[in-house]
Symmetry: C2
Subunit: 401 residues, 2 copies
């Protein structure tokens, strides 16, 4: 039996590791491990009509219903995918290809997004562009918030979809999806709003009516669940076409034999994350604010990337230290027992420019010197102090060179 | 701790269940459960450069190397997907779209397949057709073997890809992929041969040079591994483009955070399946042959679908009983403790015609009265006897109506 939490991180070490990369990956919650173990024996194919198949299918149906209830939608609006990336692909390609199937030409469709999205959005958007869809990038401000004026300017009667992350994975900026939806629907009520909510379940509500989104993507591996499983969820008016081709599983929208273990683990993780998000968020916000304050006090050249206060997700700290080789800094932190990153893991966690920080700052020096520190529920201010101490010493040492 | 095997199937029952649907899904092997549990704590994002990330990446690299060694290819020819369905999608769309990217028009490409493929092949082929690719269906004979004459007739200088299942999932017919490759390469050496090998690892070698395939698809859930994870493997000359869009994971061919648990479980499962395939195959072939013999003796109207002897995979029995409602028969078997199916689970495991049996027999009565019985390593002739007894009684009762 394995435990999550700090214990599990330090398998081969005496000293405690300080893990500050929760945005990249989260440990499995104990309750998630338990439910996965509980269902290890349920190996039947959920499409089979015998007892083994029905037992598997029952769990999947139950999970679909529980996710739907949690997100305040109908069970027919829940599909399990292989993760956040596939969910984002299915949202964007699925909506556009469904319209295309019903006779709408690619070049009569416009999709709006921003220049600070995760690669699973930005690369899928580029594929839509390849297929002939018109793509427009709405401006974001200096903290990464969507400019509603720019949105208004870019909307047209061709717009079919607006896709924006609810929480930016690098700088933690929270978008007001409801406001974006209202502006879009002033132009055309049929415009669909997609929110990539992969970074959200631990820290805020992901109920669709509350967010104001028509479709959201979730990833179990970012909120205490297993990797390799995600959710795409939508409200009634969304029509999708699958992006993979095969059997008729999951209402014909996602072929392939469903995994009971993964689906049950994901459902438990998302439920658990949502159950205490407010309490967790308040607690971690305090640690984060204290950590940012101390970072600025201790290391003079620190620039905070992203919003402050309520517009920033509870667990995100993203800083630039101009002139510092932050990839090296992350390696030094690691050697001293602290896991951090320079940007999002999917963008290549090592060197190179942060597209997000470049976009909000238009400053290459700032975009090439980012460090992302993403906290967990049990991160303490002590952990942050240690991190700051190591980083400060490293910065000072580098200055001497 | 959960055990696989017979014990795990009978959780809530006193009597032993007889599971004869191994082609639809297999129980997790104990060694697979063990390796998955071992890595539950390795939660780091494999793209991250810190210790937690590197530990995860190390396991994935090791698994990629082990699969490559097992399949007698290079590690650069191994990608982990979300299952057999995604592997088949990536094989077909990946090859064609890569050629399209390099300037080849869709209508200058021809893809050859058969009319008896799994939906993850046949539906992906239809998508290729939608995109303008020319699709030709090579004839199969009355046991489902590809006609090399028909193949020869259909090949042309436009042919880029031939896709055939190594083992047919419904009737168990084994194709001679090497012979198919030789005929294809007489026309054009650059034609790629794809074999869907999802049904194979327990029963035959899946080494690519031995099979004679350029690309193969595998699915861990069909050989003692977890569901939700598959492999696409290829020899050096194959060039692919991804079917999902996002981060640069897995050599840029398959975006999304890799799951250590699933990849390690899949690797262990495929290795274990391949380690003893010959012994397992010989043992189960005897049980299968005895079972077929007794079925024919006891139930006079039984017609065997598919090949006999070495051209049939060890564990497959597919019969038609003309005039019988075999969906009802499968339900009756289930009530009597026996799990069977009418056809492949992905084709909808319940009623309706078997496309495969219709294709080989051109006989609707035969195609609508199929029962598929797929054995496992520990299936005994006693299990088969019980199944035959129940089926026989049911057939006789139905005759009385």
């Amino acid at each position: 039996m394995f435990k999550t939490g700090l214990f599990s991180r330090t398998k081969s070490e005496e000293s405690k590791r300080i893990y500050l990369d929760y945005a990249a990956a989260t440990p499995l919650e104990v309750v998630v491990i338990e439910v996965m173990q509980k269902y290890l024996h349920l190996y039947g194919n959920p499409s089979a009509i015998h007892q083994e198949g029905v037992a598997a299918k029952d769990v999947i149906n139950d999970c679909q219903t529980r996710i739907a209830r949690l997100l305040q939608i109908k069970p027919e609006g829940v599909v399990f995918t292989s993760g956040g990336t596939e969910s984002n692909n299915l949202a964007l390609l699925g909506v556009v290809e469904q319209l295309h199937k019903t006779g709408r030409a690619y070049d009569s469709m416009e999709v709006l997004t921003t220049g600070i999205e995760h690669p699973s959005i930005s690369e899928t958007i580029l594929e839509l562009k390849n297929r002939g869809v018109l793509v427009k990038y709405v401006k974001v401000d200096e903290v990464g918030k969507v400019s509603l004026d720019s949105l208004r300017e870019n909307l047209s009667n061709k717009t079919v979809l607006v896709s924006v992350a609810l929480v930016n994975s690098e700088i933690g900026t929270i978008q007001n999806i409801g406001a974006i939806a209202r502006v879009a629907h002033e132009v055309d009520k049929s415009i669909l709003i997609h929110a990539d909510a992969a970074q959200s379940p631990y820290w805020m509500s992901v109920e669709l009516p509350r967010i104001g989104a028509d479709i959201i993507s979730l990833d179990a591996g970012k909120c205490g669940g297993p990797k390799g499983i995600g959710v795409l969820a939508w409200q009634k008016r969304v029509q999708l076409t699958p992006v993979l081709y095969g059997g008729g599983q999951q209402m014909g929208l996602r072929p392939g034999t469903e995994s009971v273990i993964l689906i049950a683990g994901a459902t438990m993780a998302i439920e658990q994350a949502q159950r205490k998000w407010q309490e967790r968020s308040e607690k971690v916000t305090k640690v984060r604010n204290e950590c940012i304050k101390k970072l600025k006090e201790e290391i003079l050249d620190v620039i905070l990337n992203g919003a402050e206060g309520e517009e920033r997700v509870a667990n995100n700290i993203n800083i630039s230290i101009l002139g510092l080789d932050t990839e090296f800094a992350v390696v030094v932190l690691d050697k001293n027992g602290i896991a951090a990153s320079t940007k999002s893991a999917c963008s290549g966690a090592g060197g190179g420019e942060s597209v997000v920080v470049k976009q909000i700052s238009n400053d290459t020096a700032r975009a090439t010197s980012t460090i992302r520190l993403t906290l967990g529920e049990e991160t303490t201010i002590n952990d942050c102090q240690k991190m700051i101490q190591v980083l400060k010493e490293h910065v000072e040492k580098m200055k001497d060179y």
